[in-house]
Amino acid sequence: MVTQDATMKSKEELKERLSKHEVISGSEILLRSLLLEDVDCVFGYPGGAVLYIYDAMHGNPDFNHLLTRHEQGAIHAADGYARASGKVGVCIATSGPGATNLVTGIATAYMDSVPMVVITGNVISSLIGSDAFQEADITGITMPITKHSYLVRDVVDLPRIIHEAFHIANTGRKGPVLIDIPKDVSAAKTLFKPVTEVSIRGYNPTVSPNKLQVDKLIKAIEQAERPLILAGGGVVYSGGHEELLEFVTKTQIPITTTLLGLGAFPSGNDLWLGMPGMHGTYTANKSIQSADLLINIGARFDDRVTGKLAGFAPLAKIVHIDIDPAEIGKNVPTDIPIVGDVKTVLQLVNQQAKRADKADEWRAQLKASSEQYPFSYTDSEDELKPQWVVELIYETTNGDAIVTTDVGQHQMWAAQYYKFNKPRSWVTSGGLGTMGFGFPSAIGAQMANPDRVVVSINGDGGMQMCAQELAICAINNIPVKVVIINNQVLGMVRQWQELIHENRFSHIDLAGSPDFVKLAEAYGVKGFRAANKEDARAVWEEALRHPGPAVVEFVVRKNENVYPMVAQGSTIDQMIMGDAE
């Protein structure tokens, strides 16, 4: 308690010191404002247009900046930080190429509604528009992939803009906000007064739902014989996981959680049917197709979940709870629209929610189906199976790790075989499907959660898209456990070429990949490799015990496919069940 009080006190002292009205530069205003927004870790990369900003960091003990080895690493790390903490992720890059290297990461965050404030430098104001050295119109480039953006024209506006940016990023439907600061603005001095109020006329997200719509939902539950909940990332982002559990406990309605919704609901619960969609469970997909009431809570009916829209949930009355009114009715016609913050909506719903009494037969039917059709694969004693590797990771971390993934087969296997019980334990690029995301996002997740085990599961393809960040794990001793599921091919592309393009395998062979153990060691990170079960368990347990970062390469079967699979353009009940059928 003493130390906690001391921390509190020093925090308050810091706040007082930062809030002092003084004439300082735009760069100092930026750093102070970020600290006042409670930012404890920033990822970035310096350059010409942000020299004043980095100069202000020099010798500043309060400001914690991690130098990545690529701006792409910085933005994915900030994203992982945000997803694993619920706080706003922050990254800084210079103008031109620095800024454009952030584009994929900004789009990744935008698609998955991740709160971020992205700071870029720009050339001196008078040079803007002249094709100056390292000039890029980054506010223009990122307009379709940011929630909002600012080009700061006057240093006087900077405190307000930063405060607004944090507010916009982390309220309503969350998302990345970009602040572009020309070099002369970061150098200019002005009297700093912290801004603590926001008033943005055109921005007022609806948090509390329409009561009449909530009543309609309650009534629909009473009448439903085959009700089903489809919960998504919105539950995690609103912090509504406890309310969701209460809702399910009260109503006893079976629930499926989307890829981004994994962890929003305890996977051990009897009513959980697993993930729906392209690689979802048999039972989740079948239940959507036969439900008479589908309650979407904070999911956006993404095409990977719905399959062919025309045949999606054909029998169901659709309820859609979402903070973003534009999502309601966008893809699926909705009978009961409820606009509001998921947590707030569920609190209100829970006051009236009762057990869905007509659904006993349905519950029993789905439970039996879940037992009959779990995710399954044919194990092997000769070669490592990727699914088995994920099960090993799950078992040895007691299901309590933060897992980040890259994109592809390993991502789906991680989603299928790692069973999450807590929100913000699962960091994956769902909407954009960004390769290169898995490893750097784990660095951010670990920075936000120094005391938790962070496992980053990658393929041998995606790992090579951002491997350089091993450097910052090594020098800062960030103890991320980096798993590489190495099947020597671009597995998901291979799978589609096998199943949909009649075995015409085109450019999927990753021959020429580095020796990942040596690669790790070259950066000063411990490296391990295993190609059979016995070694796999031994090296993995050793990696977990190792106090620092570690890379563990699992050499797995080359031609393994992810099943079940719904081919693009099919309805979700048309599943290819695969070899373990």
């Binding site: 916009i168 055109g202 534009a326 009715g329």
Partner: protein
Amino acid sequence: MKKHTIAVIVNDQPGVLQRVSGLFGRRGFNIESITVGSSEEAGLSRMVIVTSGDDHTLEQVTKQLYKLIDVIKVIDLSSNPMVARELALIKVNAEPAARPEILGVVETFRAAVVDIGTHSLIVQVVGDTEKIDAMVELLKPYGIRELSRTGVTALNRGSAK
């Protein structure tokens, strides 16, 4: 495909036109015309956009526009009685012999001749889109050299808002 006329009240900020037009472009919404100018309130501009699509498209357009921070209000003007006007300047071939005939057309349309050259004149016409279309059709036989239309600006009538 129904035509819709919508007014979008936006902050008078650099880049706001790009935000709005970019949104239409990337979401596949059609813009038939767009006009921007100041509104009754300082600091706010009024855009009037003519778009086409079914009701579902219009609903999405409206909702997506509201997601832009610089958008203050979106009004579906065409759902209520409205006055919609555009202005066109038409430079038409006009040898002295043809002038009386052209002036006859201009007068009938309550349009105006705003410039007379040796071989051409500029006709200014104000009205709804159909009126201007008709005027253009009638002047075509004389040979239209240049045509510039402002696009529609509009307000709802009377107390309708």
